[in-house]
Symmetry: C2
Subunit: 802 residues, 2 copies
């Protein structure tokens, strides 16, 4: 994986068995730890070498100017970028008089292991210094799920063959030098050294740095406490300056002796609280963590994850790499959202600076479904963050001449940061994506209080947006003109089906919520007439259709466009947007990512089974998957239309997006939505799970390679297990009252007394549809799944022939 | 005019009778002098106060980065901006020990007068210094049409009532401080001090500065020679430093005595020649100018303009303001193009820095028609400049995945500088505009040599572009998808009729030229088959039409769009692009500027008379004229469809665009295309002149307010005069062999023996079509035309009610 063979395939961990400096940046992303509030990239303890040093606090960003050579009305003037805050990971080591640096001396062994059940990142290395002195270093690192402001490191160094003088430097470092990025020099200047020093302190084993960002005026505090254990009473001193606070431990170890350091780091940030308040906040958190102790934190972490896996685990028999990948995916999605708590879930989580740390529609569309059925409280928090940004979204709607709220295409604090409006402002579907996430969460959890206090506001304001954005034609159909759907290879089109259908759901959901909460509806100024309008428009949304081809049109006129000339496009010319001008891409039939195909999954009832088959086949021939969000959607619809091998190929692609670095940018952070997509491909694809309102249905069917698929879900206050075998599936109610499910459209009941077995009907879907030349999914076979082999198989997509 | 009453209305001059500091920036534009090679804004001799100091050399620019917050394939990385080169205008005056500065002391009188027949800018002022010493200053300035690198100043100061010690400082100044512009700070930094000093010299009465631009590496030389005349042997010294060369003249004048200074300035620039070569070039030009002498230059200028007016004059009886405006327009268009000689004709000429000094499609579409019939050699030069940029245009086409050549939307040196592709790269019609300018020039002049050496290359390469850009549908129609037409309130549309028809003309013209020049065609690789394809596609261009409304669609689907809500748009919300987002403007029926209406003029035969009437009426209701290029086109089609009062209103608007500063940006330079449009409105509107191939036709008809319109044309090696009266017109052949014309479609012959009188048929066109609320043209009546009154009448458009 990650282009090399140093990673092993195993069900509950990701292990790297040797160090490859070439893939260090990617390893920092896959080994990143986070709880959604604090994020640490998997940088080496000693800080160097590194790909990208990274310590992130969710929501902690800096402004920078957005430059336009030719500006326009409504263009956002200010960008936002996540900043690298005070690094608390660093523990430097001096062996006699030589720094422990893996680029020098001799490295006997180096292992890193991310344990998905314990939530710990382990590292073990044996190294001989250039002068010939050998040490063994063991470190374990965590970002706590239970104490959200806390991260901790356990570090141990052992003298292997000779006595050795050891100096450990445990640090807090602000304004680390970062590799230069190639963007706007003014933005780079702002982000290069984002923190202004306010206070530094070192007292005994305690360190503290407090800084403030220059533009966004966010106060950032980091504090560390240490426990040192070792023979011969190690000498411990500490010191601090504006950007560095340092604890120094000096010890001489005899052969076989070890020096141990436990480091607890507390983070805090605030845009409003005073310096003393933020200082006290981190000191209090630190005191609590120290009181819990290292082992206490480790135990809490394990218990937290046990609970998570009981709710969320997916077991795959027949493809150990996919088994590993889906658990890796579940773990990282949990890390991204677990404790985000009224902050966004960025596209890269807190694993890197890709997309500037922004959140997009994929949070609601790809990440929140997984969390809805596995960690619903994280969904409520993510949507509360959207709710908190409603004033900004209302202002933006006014600015655009619209009613209601217009949520941003990309943002950290809720303000629009997209500088290219045809693929930003015009992508209004983000508003329906948010609304549908509300509806999904509310119907799955029956969290009436959330709907009343939070959800209804989001539903009403987005519904109002659609009314002002769309129009009724003289035959009564409801059109939404001039918008961009999920597929960014068409832009500013009329009647994008995905947008229209999702807007319809949004309108209907708003009316339903207002009916359930008449008091709140009245507060929001919603009257009977407005609700009637919403219901009326919801059934009138227009779905362009080509009678000639008997397929739906992704947007009006789409199928009349010229087909992209795939035969004349070479494999090196993908992704297309880096090799062809937008004007040419936009005017032709070519699809970057599932759009109509996604609509057939999210708005399943709007299409007949026959339409789904025809549409899926047609758009398969046009979809080049130049977005990481595509394969998982195609997997789901390939499965629904019976093309199980194709679904499997796509599921594997989604699952290995980061582990195999398929888009060559895992170094910038993980693709959280594609990771969630791996779950979606398995559960909604091979499990055929669909949830709408209070209905939950399944239509499971496995590809040949898989022997069994098991997944867990939490929904309607129940916990379920679904086991899928080649010819039948087994439904088990693990917790909660009896309930009705559907299996291939037929209702049945499950109770806690016994599992229910259902046979899987056989089907012959016919020949699988063709994809564009050079962009077929790599064919996955069971034989392709052994350890060390899958990587090349899936990345082969980049090079394969017709 | 220019919002105040200090300008007089007179037929052959523009006179300002007092100084208004508030309109100084505008006055600098309207009093700008230029020959197309050197441009001097009408800054005061003493340099201050000023709006924008400006000295421009056509083609002399600097690069600057084009910033993109979100970049894209094919986006140009480098912008270009005209730079303010060495200022040779400045003559400072010290009166006793006080600087002559109109902001201090007492200003008794101040007149400036641009004489359109002599081509001289005169200034006369009487001023009393704060200490009470009165002087009279008279200066005359010229930029020579006959010696293209030469400008000259005659300056005289007279002691009025007391003896006075005078110090004159005549300067060359590089890197003048400019008012800050609000754009990208990096671009501003580059342009603030664009010249690197290479050499400075002052010897006796001769000054010289040589600089080089930093990025574009253009060497710029300016040299000045002086003749001083005055009583009591004035003391003359000179000195120079890197950015200033100065001649100082000291004299004491008795009451009534005068000191006179003549200053000759030569400019040269080159991207290739050495410093000694450029130095010699300016010294040689200066020697020639000094040998000609001030009076010699004045005489040459007058002779040059006499010839021009004989070819080009337009006389208007019944509206003295329009009379003045059209001559002002002709003069400035001449100034922009007369000696451009293988440089472009920028949108603002050399009168200011608006649009960064770039050239657009309006050169070929609006400016070159006027010059074709009045100064054809300037047209050949402008097109030779396009030809010189063919290699760049070919490279650009490849970059865009197209064949042939893709000319830039905006440029100085031929490279694309547009940073917003939907209104830049997508506006492919510029290529057909260039091709049609070639065809117009060649058919008007029979300049076969030009066609063979230059024109055919432009025609062939643009024809190839269209073939690769368009597509044939399965019914055989030729479509061009995803382009932006002249109307920038629709963008990236399919089958823009203007683009399609113009592309058809282009294809046909290329085939015709290749038939006439088979040898050159073969050299260009054009074979019979390619020519046949061009002819075939030319007749197959698709023209979208609404059967329901019985009008053509500006582009496919246009008439199905939602109408802009004009009733809810307030007058302050125009121009729309400054108050509404593009997404909303693009998706609705609203027209920034004539597009289909322009097509009905440029491709007149593609529409029936009835279609023209219906189309014109329909698009009148949607056109808001947020571009200065619109009114003149609407004037022409209003006249053709018989709405003469409306045509008159639009003609006046076009004519007064700058004199009344209708768009509030005359300070940045004149709207050369709108000035040319004033001519177009009169000649093609009220004269009904149409030229296509070897046919020349007229359909004259005057609005009630005008008593007579006379215009001159040079075409087919003849010179014509056309006089239009209310009920008849008179055609006179002033020079050349007998020829056939058409009057209202009927052929007749004129010879040099006698004028031909033709009656004008009467017509009742019915009610004039309505315009959008708040955007109706100001109604012009004969009563509105007296001096000092017209300004308010025409600018009233901004405030008028429904």
């Amino acid at each position: 994986m990650i282009v090399d063979d140093s990673y092993t395939v195993e069900p509950w961990a990701l292990s790297e068995t040797s160090l490859d400096l070439a893939t260090l940046p990617q390893s920092e992303s896959v080994f990143a730890l986070s709880n959604g509030h604090v994020g640490w990239r998997g940088n080496l303890d000693e800080g160097e070498p590194h790909g990208l040093p990274g310590t992130y606090l969710n929501g902690c960003f800096e402004f920078h100017p957005l430059p336009y050579a030719e500006g326009g009305y409504g263009y956002p003037e200010s960008g936002q970028s996540v900043i690298n805050v005070t690094n608390g990971k660093t523990v430097r080591l001096l062996v006699n008089d030589e720094p422990f640096d893996l680029r020098n001396g001799h490295l006997h062994s180096h292992q890193r292991r991310l344990d998905l059940r314990s939530g710990l990142l382990h590292r073990t290395t044996t190294w001989t210094s250039p002068a010939g002195c050998t040490v063994k270093v063991r470190s374990t690192r965590m970002v706590s799920f239970t104490q959200r402001t806390i991260a901790a490191v356990s570090y141990e160094v052992q003298a292997v063959d000779t006595p050795v003088r050891i100096v450990l430097q445990s640090e807090l470092v602000a304004n680390e030098a970062l590799p230069t990025s190639s963007g706007d020099p003014r933005a780079a200047a702002v982000l290069a050294s984002p923190l202004e020093a306010e206070e530094d302190e070192a007292q005994d084993t305690r360190l503290r740095l407090i800084h403030c960002t220059r533009g966004s005026r966010l106060r950032v505090a980091a504090a560390a406490e240490h426990v040192v254990q070792g023979p011969h009473e190690p000498r411990v001193t500490s010191e601090s300056s504006a950007d560095v606070a340092r604890l120094t431990v000096i010890s001489t170890l005899a052969q076989g002796e070890s020096l141990q350091l436990q480091k607890f780091i507390a983070y805090g940030w605030s845009g409003t609280r005073s310096l003393p308040a933020v200082r006290d906040q981190v000191e209090a958190a630190l005191a609590a963590a120290k009181a819990t102790g290292w082992q206490g934190l480790v135990d809490e972490q394990r218990r937290y994850l046990n609970t998570f896996w009981a709710r969320a685990d997916v077991e795959v028999e027949g493809d150990t790499q996919v088994q590993q990948a889906v658990r890796f995916a579940l773990f990282h999605v949990l890390q991204a959202g677990a404790r985000a708590e009224q902050c966004s879930i960025p596209a890269k989580g807190l694993t890197g600076t890709g997309y500037d740390g922004h959140s997009f529609w994929d949070t609601e569309t790809f990440v929140l479904p997984l969390l809805t059925y596995t960690s619903p409280s994280a969904v409520a928090e993510a949507l509360r963050w959207r709710h908190a940004t409603l004033p900004t979204a209302r202002t933006r709607a006014r600015e655009l001449g619209l009613r209601g709220a217009a949520f941003p295409w990309r943002t950290i604090d809720g303000a629009e940061c997209s500088a290219y409006w045809p693929a930003g402002t015009a992508a209004f579907h983000v508003n329906a994506d948010i609304a549908c996430a509300v509806m999904r969460y509310v119907s799955a959890t029956d969290d009436e209080e959330f709907e009343r206090s939070t959800g209804i506001d989001l539903l009403v304001e987005t519904a109002r947006l659609w009314v002002s954005l769309g129009r009724r034609d003289n035959r009564g159909a409801f059109h939404i003109d001039g918008v961009t759907g999920p597929d960014e290879y068409s832009a500013v089109t009329d009647d994008n089906i995905y947008t229209n259908l999702m807007a319809g759901e949004n309108l209907r959901g708003a009316a339903d919520a207002c009916e359930r909460h008449p008091g709140r509806a009245a507060e929001l100024g919603v009257d009977i007439r407005e609700m009637a309008t919403w219901r009326d428009l919801a059934v009138r949304v227009y779905m362009p259709y080509s009678d000639e081809l008997q397929v739906h049109e992704q947007n009006a006129g789409f199928t009349s466009r010229q087909r992209w000339d795939f035969e004349s496009t070479s494999p090196e010319q993908y992704p297309l947007l880096l090799h062809f001008p937008y004007f040419d891409i936009y005017r032709k039939q070519v699809v970057k990512q599932a759009d109509l195909v996604l609509a057939m999954y999210t708005c399943s009832d709007a299409f007949t089974a026959e339409q789904k088959k025809r549409n899926f086949a047609y758009y398969e021939g046009l979809t080049v998957r130049d977005s990481s969000l595509s394969a998982c959607c195609q997997a789901v619809m390939a499965a629904e239309t019976g093309h199980l091998q194709l679904a499997y190929d796509y599921a594997v692609e989604a699952a290995l997006m980061d582990l195999n670095d398929l888009e060559r940018n895992t170094k910038d952070g993980l693709h959280i939505a594609s990771l969630a997509g791996a779950w979606m491909a398995l559960v909604c694809g091979f499990g055929g799970m669909r949830h709408a309102g209070h209905s939950l249905s399944f239509a499971p069917r496995l590809p040949d390679a898989l022997k069994k698929l098991t997944f867990h879900m939490q929904i309607f206050d129940r916990r379920l297990r679904v086991e899928v075998y080649p010819n039948h599936s087994v439904y088990t109610l693990l917790k909660g009252a009896r309930m009705t499910l559907r299996h291939y459209g037929v209702e049945f009941e499950i109770t806690d007394s016994a599992s229910v077995l259902q046979p899987i009907p056989s089907e012959s879907p016919g020949r699988a549809p063709a994809q564009p030349l050079w962009r077929r999914a790599a064919e996955r076979s069971a034989a392709a799944a052994p350890s060390h082999a899958g990587g090349r198989s899936a990345t082969a997509m980049q090079q394969q022939g017709p």
